[in-house]
């Protein structure tokens, strides 16, 4: 009996060993291997594959983070092409970790949806992504927003992201609170802009009324850091990086002046317990009277209390605003999102992935793909379909377009971007703790440039 048991045990172990052993027949070579894609002429995509499966990992880019919405459009794609799409939904909190781990394990997805700061500056730069430049002909280049096209193109000339949507990041204010404090007089509600002088007056009026901080320079992590960067840059016209995107310039005196101004305002707190998402929640709760992490997705999304778009949990009115600047003309941080293809060494999958991108970003289905994101199309037309008027039926989207002309430089493609973000929020924490501002800014901007 014991002998039998021992034999059974030994067999179980052997089976376990086999089960746990890696499959050496894995067809995925390392990302460093040269791509096996065939040359493809512009505007002549590969014949739709009869079958095949793609994996798409998407960050929560508008409703591209919601399964029911994404499933509808990917099902339509599958019905059209025969290529099935398996979608995994990433969160910004740990999405990068998952992708990095997948790359390390040679298990990267076929497609990924995000912005140039990840696709071009990071994964593309390191050679993990397929060059998409053969997907753009002259018509495409004339239709696609020039700034978006530039941002999606690596300095080496290769294109690692096919842009689908763009938007302008902005801030928001609680209009009811502003009215109660008599601070609404400082807002240009028609153009959704205000000056630095009026911003300071408004914050002071709100603080005098509520006797508590009304805005938070959140700096727990990098989440939503575009808001704090835009706030600091706009107040006195500072810049974050050079126009050629080869150096970080946030140590310029105008940014130091802005940080000193913010630090000296009792109505503004430097809060290392909040990230962008946390700030939005506190703003929704009506505690903070302004949010620096905002865009059209937030303006459209009903909050958790289901009080309706553009309303706080208490039903107070939220108004989106440009960041305050000296002359009232902000330079807003842009958001550009699209698709990249990981080079997993399977040319058939790369072709299928290009078919997917073409279907989503440059076809009669593009309007639907853009609407799923709740942002604006990155191009004026797609294969003859006009995309400029796809939001005419949506009042909020239409109104939001007033901010689009204020789109500023897309500096997120500056070399060392991921590291620079860490330096930025760490710097804000130090400033919040009372460190010497000029010295701290110089140190962390130096670190960003050294990285």
């Amino acid at each position: 009996m014991k002998k039998l048991l021992a034999i059974l045990l030994a067999m179980t172990m052997v089976m376990a060993l086999v089960a746990c052993g890696g499959n050496n027949d894995n067809a995925n070579p390392s990302p460093q291997d040269p791509p096996e894609t065939e040359d493809q002429t512009p505007e002549a995509p590969a014949e739709p594959a009869a079958s095949g499966e793609l994996t798409l990992w998407t960050y929560p880019i508008g409703d591209w983070g919601k399964e029911e919405k994404v499933k509808a459009i990917t099902d339509a794609f599958t019905a059209d092409t025969g290529i099935s799409v398996k979608v995994e939904y990433l969160a910004y909190a740990d999405g990068d970790d998952k992708v990095n781990s997948a790359i390390t394990a040679n298990a990267a997805p076929d497609l990924i949806m995000e912005g140039p700061e990840r696709l071009v500056t990071n994964w593309g730069d390191k050679g993990y992504l397929v060059d998409l430049s053969d997907m753009f002909d002259d018509t495409d280049k004339s239709e696609i927003n020039a700034a978006a096209m530039t941002a999606c193109t690596h300095p080496n000339g290769e294109v690692y992201e096919y842009p689908l949507v763009v938007t302008a990041h902005c801030m928001a204010i609680n209009l009811n609170a502003f009215k109660e404090a008599g601070a609404d007089q400082y807002l240009d509600l028609e153009n959704h802009t205000w000056t630095t002088e009026n911003f300071i007056k408004a914050v002071d009026a709100l603080y005098a009324h509520y006797n508590a901080p009304v805005g938070a320079v959140y700096c727990k992590g990098q989440g939503g850091d575009q808001g704090t960067r835009a706030l600091v840059n706009n107040l006195y016209g500072g810049t974050f990086a050079t126009a050629s995107h080869d150096k970080y310039t946030w140590d310029d005196p105008k940014n130091i002046q802005a940080l000193e101004q913010l630090k000296g305002m009792p109505g503004i707190t430097f809060d290392a317990s909040l990230e962008g998402g946390d700030e939005i929640k506190v703003f929704y709760q009506g505690i903070l009277k302004m949010a620096f992490c905002w865009n059209i997705a937030q303006q459209l999304n009903p909050n958790q209390a289901d009080t309706g778009a553009g309303l706080t949990a208490n039903g107070e009115e939220i108004v989106f605003m440009g960041f305050p600047s000296e002359n009232g003309t902000p330079a807003l941080q842009g958001g550009i999102w699209g698709f990249g293809i990981f080079n997993n060494g399977d040319s058939a999958k790369v072709e299928n992935a290009k078919t997917f991108i073409k279907w989503m970003c440059d076809s009669e289905h593009t309007a639907e793909a853009v609407k799923t994101a709740n942002y604006f199309a990155a191009r004026s037309a797609a294969e003859g379909t006009d995309l400029t008027g796809i939001w005419t039926d949506n009042e909020i989207m239409n109104e939001y377009q007033v901010l689009m002309p204020y789109l500023g430089d897309y500096y997120q493609v500056t070399k060392g971007w991921a590291g620079a973000r860490t330096e930025w929020w760490t710097m804000l924490q130090k400033v919040g703790e009372g460190a010497d501002i000029a010295e701290t800014v110089a140190t962390y901007a130096g670190n960003a440039n050294a990285g």
């Binding site: 048991l5 021992a6 030994a10 990068d96 390390t104 290392a272």
Partner: protein, 305 residues
């Protein structure tokens, strides 16, 4: 008189039983070697290399002790090491002292009451760390947290304290949570150990005129030393490896970076330095050395006692 020799059959039976025993151990051994010993060896080897996620090959290039030399000058790592030691130095003695005190107070209680206390103190241990942390996060919240609400209501503070966002408080807040989640197991162990103290020794000490303190220190404490040693070692290791609380509450900001979090950041976060497994593993080796040294010291002291 010659001792009767053991029958040969018995030895053979013993051997067969030994073999069966080892076979039963093998599945555990397989997992222990595969998921503990082997990764440890890989960790030590890669700590001497420049292994990273961007270059092909698992082990990178051998670079000797360069990673360790770099660690000595790494300001972030040194700060993380300092914070880790603060957590250990504060957490371990307080957990031991508090659990001993609570156990002494409750171990003579009647069965159901004792069980109730054990449940209460053990509850944070069995509750998922994420759930516990979320509740604490609500309580610490800068804007809506109960601590600020109570302190403000009592007139003790004028403006809210940013518990998790201010470096004056954040690390201590984390130590407090770690404390509440760490005392459960020591209390249960101490209650058990106190219940097993030999009563005849206590009675003998009483007859000899020993007072309560002397009975505790000379009789009970001495008999509980193996339990104390186990608690010290486990609490030390847990404190050194504090990660989830940091990740969920502060992400290493506001002066709460620890070595474990630094390892995670270096290995996996999306920065240009990400995926530097060799360097991250060097941090892990340093941490393991400190844990080993402290545990050895605790064993030595306990043995002397």
């Amino acid at each position: 008189m010659a001792r009767p020799s053991k029958p040969t059959m018995s030895r053979a039976l013993q051997r067969r039983e030994n073999i069966s025993g080892y076979l039963f151990m093998l599945p555990s051994l397989f997992f222990f070697i595969g998921f503990v010993v082997f990764p440890m060896i890989i960790c030590i080897i890669t700590s001497l290399t420049d292994a990273n996620m961007h270059d092909p090959g698992m082990f990178g290039n051998f670079i000797g002790f360069s990673n360790f030399a770099r660690l000595v000058k790494d300001v972030d790592f040194l700060e993380a090491l300092k914070n880790t030691f603060i957590i250990v130095i504060v957490s371990v003695p307080t957990v031991c002292a508090f659990s001993l005190w609570v156990s002494s107070a409750i171990y003579k209680l009647s069965g159901p009451v004792l069980s109730a206390f054990r449940c209460i103190f053990y509850l944070p241990v069995v509750t998922g760390s994420v759930a516990v942390t979320v509740v604490w996060k609500w309580m610490y919240d800068n804007y809506t947290g109960i601590f600020n609400h109570v302190l403000k209501g009592a007139g003790l503070i004028e403006q809210n304290i940013n518990w998790l966002g201010d470096s004056k408080y954040a690390l201590w807040c984390i130590i407090l949570i770690l404390f509440t989640t760490s005392v459960g197991q020591p209390i249960v162990l101490y209650v058990s150990a106190l219940g097993n103290v030999d009563q005849t020794l206590i009675e003998a000490a009483e007859v000899d005129g020993a007072n309560s303190f002397q009975i505790f220190w000379q009789v009970k404490w001495a008999q509980m030393m193996p339990t104390t040693l186990y608690i010290l070692v486990i609490t030390t290791i847990n404190s050194f490896q504090c990660f989830a609380l940091i990740q969920l509450l502060t992400k290493g900001g506001a002066g709460t970076n620890t070595v474990m979090y630094d390892i995670y950041w270096t290995a996996f976060k999306l920065t240009e330095q990400a995926g530097h497994f060799g360097y991250a593993n060097a941090m892990g080796v340093v941490l393991a050395i400190f844990i080993g040294l402290l545990s050895a010291l605790q064993f030595k002291l306990a043995k002397e006692k």
